[in-house]
Structure formats: C-alpha cells, structure tokens
C-alpha cells in the first residue's frame, strides 16, 4: 500500500511534517515517535505563534502549554494541560503515556512531574509575548473571554465579579472574541 506510511498535519507547518515523515519512513520508527518528533519541531520553531514557548500569553502574561499524544494501537494516551515553565510539552505528554497509568496531568503538578522526569524548568515568556500582553493591557484588556460580569469586560480590565442581573440563554452563547483562525487557534 503506497498510501502507508503517511503523516498528516493541520496547517502548513512543513518542517514538522518533514520531521514526522523522516521518522516514520526513513528511520522506520513508530507512528507515536513520528507525532512526537513532528510536534517537537513546531514547539522549537514556535509555529504560527500558536505552538510552544513565547506565544498566546494569558491575562497575566504567562504562556502555558497543552499537548497530547495517543497511540491508536493500544488506546493508551498521555497529555498535559496548562503546563507551566517547561518548553517541551509534547515530550512531557509522551512521558505521561510511557511512564504512568494516567491520561492527563495539569498545571503546576504537571510541571513537577516533568521536572522529576528530567525536563528543564524555565520561563516560557519572551520579549515578544510580553509585548503582546502589554499592548493588550494598554488596550483595556481587549479582547477577552469574560461575560456577564462587572465591570463591563467589553471596555474595562478586571478584576471582575458576577453581574447581579440574571443570565439569559443568549448571553450564555455570546462569543466576543474572534478566535480559531490562522495565527490564533487551539
């Protein structure tokens, strides 16, 4: 079957796909290895600003990382969410897969796990991500993901508290941020 092996990658992140192809075709390593090594490329290259360190700062200016790797032959998986201060998120997820019976570790505890597995702890912020965050603060924290709070999140920074009036179903479905396209996506 000339269709196998194969690698497919969301977005035109060519170097990541090339590394995955090299892994699975030339080095004859596993599909799990290919996915990990391909994603590592993007974490290092900060693909699109949406992968790896120095991108997508949160409201505090911090960059955190999410990653997952799933082996379809065993239905085993490993994942990390809101991983702090460790750059190589996909490999930490691979360690969750390989060395634990869990599926998902999050936050500071995921960082502790990573450090215990030998990963380096270091800041994920860069001058570029700090500048993005500062500009967002200067722009009255616009856009943001708050709703039904006071003061008005459409014009004012927090801290916020729940608005006193009741919520409608329409308010529940409002989406103030245009998010999901090229350059800003999960």
């Amino acid at each position: 079957n000339s269709m196998i092996p194969v690698v497919v990658n969301t977005w035109p992140f060519i170097n990541a796909t090339e590394k995955a192809w090299e892994t699975v075709y030339w080095k004859k390593m596993s599909a799990v290895d290919a996915v990990e090594r391909g994603c590592i490329v993007c974490e290092k290259e900060q693909c699109d600003g949406t992968v790896g360190y120095g991108g997508s700062p949160d409201e505090n200016g911090e960059t955190t990382l999410d990653a997952m790797i799933m082996d379809g032959s065993t239905m085993n998986m490993g994942a990390v969410g809101a991983l702090r201060r460790v750059k190589n998120a996909i490999s930490v997820a691979r360690h969750v897969l390989d060395y634990t019976q869990h599926s998902l570790l999050v936050g500071d505890q995921a960082t502790e796990f990573a450090v215990s597995m030998g990963f380096k702890e270091e800041p994920l912020e860069t001058n570029a991500s700090t500048k993005i965050w500062q500009q967002w603060k200067q722009n009255n924290c616009q856009p943001n993901f708050w709703m039904n709070v006071s003061p008005d999140p459409a014009s004012t920074c927090g801290p916020y508290k729940p608005a006193t009036k009741g919520l409608t179903s329409k308010q529940h479905q409002q989406r103030g941020v245009k998010f999901g396209g090229e350059g800003n996506h999960d």
Binding site: N1, S2, M3, I4, P5, V6, V7, V8, N9, T10, W11, P12, T17, A20, V24, Y25, K28, M29, A34, V35, G38, C39, C42, V51, G52, S56, P57, D58, E59, T63, T64, L65, D66, A67, M68, I69, M70, D71, M75, A79, G81, A82, A89, A93, S103, L104, V106, I132, C141, N144, F145, W146, Q173, R175, F179, G180, G181, N184, H185, D186
Partner: protein
C-alpha cells in the same frame, strides 16, 4: 496548535497535538488540544483525526472522535471531517476551525468552517515530499 496524525510501516496509527492555546485566555484555561476525542483521537481499527480552531467550542463536540466514528461507517475522510464540523456549526454558526482525518488504509482528507480555505500538509510515498493541500471550507 499543531495537530498531527500518522501511520507507520507496521500500520500502527497515532495522533497528537501541541499548543500554547488562546491569546489573553483566563489563567488556567485549557482548550481542546489535550482532550482525547476533541483535539485528536486515534483508533487502530479505523483511523485518526486532529482538529484545530476554537478549542472552547470544539471540546464540547468531540469532533476528532466523531470523525473517527464516521470513518467506521465507511465514508471518506473528507466527508467524516465535514460531518463532524457540521455538528458544531449547527449550534455555533460562527465557529472557526478545521480538521484532518486519516483512515487506517492511508486515505486522508480535511474540512473546515469559518475561513475561506484551510491548508494542511501531508506526506506519503505517492506524494514523495511534504505537500501542502488546501480545501474550501463549508
């Protein structure tokens, strides 16, 4: 986000994601990427999928799982991706995102919504090199 699916020489399949999430997110927010069935999913019997876009929405609909289950019914990867996204769009017409789908025999496809087109990259022996493909969105 990068979402990736792959099949190796032994026919084994895997999927994965890596992301720094949404800009200006509320601290502690996690998107779809580390959630199985949402950001990605792989089932060695039928195939795999990886989704990208607005993770707060996608994680409510498990599009990668839906696409893989659609493959199980025998439809093409492109149709499987389209069907998975249609479930989201029916409830969130402004949804922005895309999905790549890979069947266990190496057939692949993609679908998207909320953009003009969606570019994704592929490599197999037929293509011979990494190739960027583009699909029009729903």
């Amino acid at each position: 986000t990068i979402g990736m699916v792959a099949i190796d020489n032994q026919g084994k399949i895997a999927a994965g994601t890596s992301t720094n999430g949404a800009s200006h997110k509320i601290p502690g927010r996690v998107g779809d990427s580390p959630i199985p069935g949402a950001g990605a999913y792989a089932d060695g019997e039928v195939g795999a999928a990886a989704a990208t876009g607005d993770g707060d929405i996608m994680m409510r609909f498990l599009p990668s799982l839906i696409a893989v289950e659609q493959l199980r019914s025998g439809i093409t990867p492109s149709a499987a991706g389209e069907n998975a996204l249609r479930r989201i769009v029916a409830r969130y017409p402004d949804f922005v995102g895309g999905i790549v789908v890979l069947s266990i025999d190496g057939q692949y496809g993609a679908a998207c919504h909320g953009m003009n087109t969606f570019k994704y990259s592929v490599c197999n022996q037929q293509l011979g090199e990494v190739t960027v493909l583009e699909v029009p969105c729903l």
